[in-house]
Symmetry: C2
Subunit: 481 residues, 2 copies
């Protein structure tokens, strides 16, 4: 205990109180203010403590109400273990996951009737479909030439202004000239990688990482160096520092600091600051992929790493696919020191984005409607996530471990010894359930015992049955091992 950080010791204190029944499920936890004065700690320690309790399933945040003790069912699962990165090799391998991922995606797509728990997009019902539809119609009426006018290189001024203004609200100061519209986050990360690296260069990524990033690196002929990431606090900056010393040809580190995919981790502020400081001192770009930040449930605004950037080290790539409208394929980037090069590459590669979509996003994000949607959306996702986790706790074998991510729609689950995710993927698909096997989230085999389950749909009997099926298949695999 002595070497543990203060927030960890405080969290343990509350775990004992709850286990002892002093605080019961549904009880309100102390307010942050009360907590600070009671324990004589800073705001950031208080928040870290609550987040740690939340991550490990002991309490939950309710917007504008504070933290509450969680129900018992949620406590049945142990938290995820920390994992190490792969052993450092003389030369990091070229990313080479495409065949594995293709097999999973092709097999999954072929099973058209399967219930898809492997995806990461919510159904249209959870997005502001009617509002966006009405807005698009209104804009088309107001500007009939939205489809036929040649657009502006880099994006329309109104889009760039709206994005810069929104960014200011969460601590990122960029001017409209620093904003470049992109076709969603993948387009932006692709441009960022092309701006900073050449084929054969090494890119540091989180381990585990979103398989789409590993495919992207592969398509660009880049080497991927996997850096350990904690299931609660994300990328290990310490491990990155060692890696930057060992591999001087690392050009960039790609991070998803808020609700990492698949971990669901959120980097604490001091870790974000340390990451930027480290990379700035080494001249290495930080490519910040940000599809999910707006989905973090937290009492305070969670900032992107870009908020700590002082010299253009961070290439910031937020997108709207997951938080606003999957069908719009829209995002933007602010590429810091590499902005002129990114803009040139975007122009050379695919020109600007459709003006209509930029206009819809500019108007919606610039109005209060976006925040109202996000508020509702986070609530819905929380309900779905809780229901899914409770079902997992009821149906999965003993020894299953997972965290309770502070938002979003992805759950990262460690299965007991003996269960292999590829085999479980095949067995589940044969039973009409599609999942994402852990094997596609790394070039290594470190996550073969993991699966990622999405909970982007309203939880109903179909979902319950699918989780039950998965749990049964996992139990059978444990028994056979």
């Amino acid at each position: 205990m002595a070497g543990e950080p203060l927030y960890e010791r405080l969290a343990e204190h509350y775990r004992r109180i709850i286990s002892a029944g002093t605080l019961l499920p549904g009880d309100r936890m102390p307010s942050v203010r009360a907590f600070m004065s009671q324990h004589g700690v800073s705001l950031s320690t208080a928040i870290q403590t609550f987040r740690r309790l939340e991550d490990t399933g002991w309490c939950e945040a309710k917007p504008r109400s504070g933290y509450f003790v969680r129900s018992r069912a949620s406590l049945a699962l142990d938290a995820l273990p920390e994992t190490d990165g792969p052993p450092l090799s003389v030369e990091p391998p070229f990313a080479g996951l495409h065949e594995r991922v293709s097999r999973v995606i092709d097999r999954g797509n072929a099973a058209v009737d399967a219930l898809n728990l492997g995806g990461a997009s919510a159904s249209a019902a959870l997005y502001p479909t009617e509002r966006l539809q009405a807005l698009a119609i209104r804009l088309l009426r107001r500007q009939p030439t939205l489809l036929t006018d040649a657009g502006r290189v880099g994006g329309s001024l109104e889009f760039r202004q709206a994005m810069a203004k929104r960014a200011l609200s969460y601590g990122v100061a960029v001017s409209p000239d620093d904003v470049l519209s992109t076709s969603g986050g993948v387009d932006a990360v692709n441009l960022a990688l092309r701006a900073v690296a050449r084929p054969g260069d090494t890119i540091a990524i989180e381990s585990p990482a979103f398989f789409g990033l590993i495919q992207l690196l592969e398509s660009l002929g880049l080497r991927a160096l996997e850096i350990p990431a904690s299931p609660t606090t994300g990328l290990s900056v310490e491990a990155l520092e060692v890696a930057l010393t060992a591999y001087p040809d690392i050009r960039a580190v790609v991070v998803v600091p808020n609700l990492q995919n698949p971990l669901g981790s959120v980097m604490p502020d001091e870790r974000k600051a340390a990451l930027v400081a480290l990379c700035a001192s080494r001249g290495v770009a930080v490519i910040e992929d940000e599809p999910y930040r707006e989905l973090v449930e937290a009492p305070q605004t969670v900032k992107p790493v870009k908020a700590w950037d002082r010299d253009g080290t961070v290439i910031y790539c937020p997108s709207f696919n997951k938080v606003l409208a999957p069908g719009m394929r829209l995002g933007w980037m602010s590429a810091g020191r590499w902005h002129a090069r990114a803009k040139m590459l975007k122009f050379a590669q695919s020109r600007h984005n459709a003006a209509l979509l930029q206009a819809v996003a500019a108007e919606f994000v610039g109005s209060g409607a976006f925040d109202r949607h996000l508020h509702r959306f986070r609530e819905q996702l929380r309900v779905q996530r809780d229901a899914t986790i409770d079902a997992i706790a009821r149906h999965f074998p003993a020894g299953t471990r997972m965290n309770r991510p502070p938002g979003g729609m992805l759950l990262w689950i460690a299965l007991p010894d003996g269960v292999h995710s590829d085999a479980l993927f095949d067995a589940a698909l044969a039973h009409g359930v599609r999942i994402a096997p852990g094997s596609i989230f790394s070039n290594s085999d470190r996550f073969d015992a993991y699966i990622r389950i999405g909970c982007p749909q309203t939880f109903d009997a179909t979902q319950e049955a699918a989780i039950e099926t998965l749990g049964r298949l996992a139990r059978e695999a444990v028994a056979a091992a």
Copy 2:
């Protein structure tokens, strides 16, 4: 005369008849059928003859009426000379035009009040703005989730079906599975280049070539080998054959067979067939960029090179930016032998395109509305082109040479000795007129005496004054030389 092809001799025959006043401006030329029986020649020779007469400004096609003798003013300009390619070097240079192009584009964009004769997009007034607006609104009403549903990898089925069906109508047999939606033509050509080549490889291109292609090659670290292209018949397949032998590391040739930018040339059918046969036999990809084919004015449907493809040698990249709606940024590709790789790269790089835009294009192109628009659009462009050429003939110095392209909105003009396009660009911009200098259409300096003028706007007194200004500046440059 003896060594000239038959159609050239027949064209010369008619030039003499017109010069002698036997046929007067406005007179109807013989019908293709009458021409064939009168001269005892094949359909293709008859069409080549008329096209040659049209290219050189002696007659013009009027849709559904036949060919007519042109007015005198149009005859004042000599046809463009054929140009050689740059001397073959041991290693083709890496494309390195970006700075030159950037200077031209940045200076041009900064001159916001200048009349833009340097662009290649028509004004929204010439596109079917109201119809597309109404269609988009109707589709949004019918499918409210068009913006919020996650789209389908590779493009929606209805889009791919509509494109495959349209392609069949002009001789290209592809299935919906062979169609991949892209963000316009540049996105497609970028994916095609990435599918077939690696950095350092050599790509054969037409000389002159669209500067955007040279920038794209530069951004991908590819070498550009410029192959001579005729101002009337496009890429020299003979020169390409020599180049393929001299440079075994050529991976692909990028061509714009129909209304090449900037030449306005259209490759005759036999040349298209020869290109495909040559590249198929050498295992070299043909990347066919096709922004303008639908704008060719010809009595018969003009086919893309892809129509001659039998083994997947041709990567076909048509787009809608120039012919339907600049603001939609939509196109597609069918990548032959490289289709699976192109699809993987598209997914890895930027995912699919916005579903709404695909739906609009599918419905519009699948209906008769597209052909009706194209019919009107070609007519309008012809009127604008003719008026612009007549103004050039009146105002430009003696020795100015240009062809009369069989469609489109681009005019490629050779200035007399002593005029340099960069200096003319600067002088014209100072006088409020923006043009595209020939220097940006090649890595060499072969086209420094050329300029490209667009005529995508209705010709009025402003345009007339701009052409007059350009002509005066060119005459001054000739006098000073």
